[in-house]
Amino acid sequence: MSTIVRFDNVGLRYGTGAEVLRDIGFRLETGAFMFLVGSSGAGKTSLLRLLYLAQRPSRGRIDMFGRDITSLPRTALPALRRRIGVVLQDFRLIEHLTAFDNIALPLRIAGVHEAEVKAHVDELMAWVGLAERRDARPAVLSGGEQQRVAIARAVIARPDILLADEPTGNVDPEMAGRLLHLFHELNRLGTTVVVATHALHLMSRVPSAITLRLDRGEMLDPMGVLRNPPPVEPAELSL
């Protein structure tokens, strides 16, 4: 199994402010499922920004897909970004596009043929229960529907790594279970998944997942002793 993400002594500060991430170091193998947990302000979103290449670290080294992204020219980044699916906390749906067009965005950016785009998007929309909302714009979608569009958009191009920032925050428990099941299925198919969440109970849904805990910009348990949670009894598997 190869390493898809590797952080070595990574620190991040915005401008001249204090470091929001300090001494982050971990390794993620291809096909791993990782929960990123921590309270608000712990640095989960900043760490995800580093992972989806919206930010370079202030110090340390990050390797993704076997390449040192800290020294990679910015012209090489779009190709890497196309291998990453991202579900952002605020969804970032494009307001003037329909649900279909929003989901189709990564495929169209990658230059996929339109017939293929249509087939894949229609199939995924049906799967996430949005077939009836094909032509609806984000403004008329509920929070849960918007979140499903965001998730569908993140997974439509079958990314090598899927990053999700609080993906189950605005959906009912049933849909949260379905979405986590979708992530788990993608993970079984080989996609590496990183989910930042407050919902600690979701972690029990993926017994094989590792956990990275952040607290005020620092990793708790840097030695990784606590990253693999103990087995959960079936009775505890509730949302």
Binding site: Y52, L53, A54, Q55, R56, R74, T75, L77, P78, A79, L80, R81, R82, I84, V86, L88, R92, I94, E95, H96, L97, D101, A104, L105, P106, R108, I109, A110, G111, R153
Partner: protein
């Protein structure tokens, strides 16, 4: 617009459609194009005029034979004309007829006031084939045949005027350059505003792997259309004004006014102004968007 002409990102409407920059930009570009067209036309026409002044007109001279005896005047005129025509370095030796001489005097004396009894000098126009030759030698040879002859070189009259025309030509070029720079600045400001407005969408496109050129193409397409529309509006207005001025200058007949005109190449250049404006717009947009995007990762 024909779909296949549109960049892929534009066909998929990655950025919202609608009236960017409040719909004012094509009109502003139109006004700038109007000024640029006038400046370009003025520059080219004055350049032609300056070339004529330093070329054909300044190489011309006129021999005046002020002889009161009509028979003697006729003889001397014929002799001088023969002398000039015999020279290989001179061309277009023309003896002005009575009617042409009267036409020259009429503006001062009034039409119909020039009787047969009014003694008019004989006039012979001639032109050096290249440059200006030895006027002193010509004067000496002419005066040997017609002692009362005077020679007016056109260059002595046109030299100060040629200087003014040259200054005006460069003034027109400077105005054109300023108009181009102002247009580029206006487009750049508008693009910056649009980049700020669409910042979150552009960031989302970037996160999904869109390349700079994909984003830039969206803006280039929009602004090229606006530049082309503004360019066509401005150029049509400018050409209309130029045609009117051309007709007014045409009423002067020949001479300097006739030389201040546009060549077919000049008209072609003016017709190409809208395309040049669109290209300027695309270039400005590409530089502005590229600079802004390079500030992001």
């Amino acid at each position: 617009m024909i779909a296949w002409l549109q960049p892929r990102a534009q066909r998929y409407r990655f950025l919202p459609e609608g009236r960017w920059a409040g719909g004012a930009l094509p009109w502003i570009i139109g006004m700038m194009t109007f000024l640029a067209t006038l400046a370009l036309a003025g520059g080219m026409a004055l350049s032609n005029g300056a070339a004529a002044l330093t070329g054909g007109l300044s190489r011309s001279f006129t021999v005046q034979i002020v002889e009161p005896n009509p028979d003697l005047k006729r003889e001397q005129t014929a002799a001088v004309a023969a002398l000039l025509r015999a020279r290989a370095d001179l061309a277009d030796v023309v003896v002005l007829g009575d009617s042409e001489l009267r036409a020259l005097v009429e503006p001062w004396l009034g039409s119909g006031n020039i009787g047969e009894e009014l003694p008019l000098p004989a006039m012979i126009d001639a032109r050096w084939k290249t440059g200006t030759g030895d006027m002193a030698a010509i004067g000496e040879a002419v005066r040997a045949l017609a002692p009362t002859a005077r020679i007016d070189t056109h260059a002595q009259w046109f030299r100060p005027l040629a200087g003014v025309v040259e200054v005006l030509k460069w003034l027109a070029v400077s105005i054109g350059v300023l108009v181009v720079a102002t247009t580029a600045a206006i487009v750049a400001l508008s693009v910056r505003a649009a980049l700020s407005t669409h910042g979150p969408t552009i960031e989302t496109l970037h996160i999904m792997g869109a390349e700079d050129r994909t984003v830039a193409a969206l803006f280039e397409y929009r602004y090229a259309i606006q530049g082309l529309v503004g360019g066509v509006i401005g150029a049509i207005a400018g050409l209309a004004v130029i045609i009117v001025i051309g007709n007014l200058l045409g009423q002067f007949g020949g001479g300097l006014a006739g030389e201040v005109s546009l060549s077919p190449l000049g008209w072609t250049a003016l017709a190409a102004v809208p395309l040049l404006v669109a290209l300027l717009t695309i270039l400005t947009v590409r530089i502005t968007v590229g600079r802004r995007l390079r500030q992001q990762l």
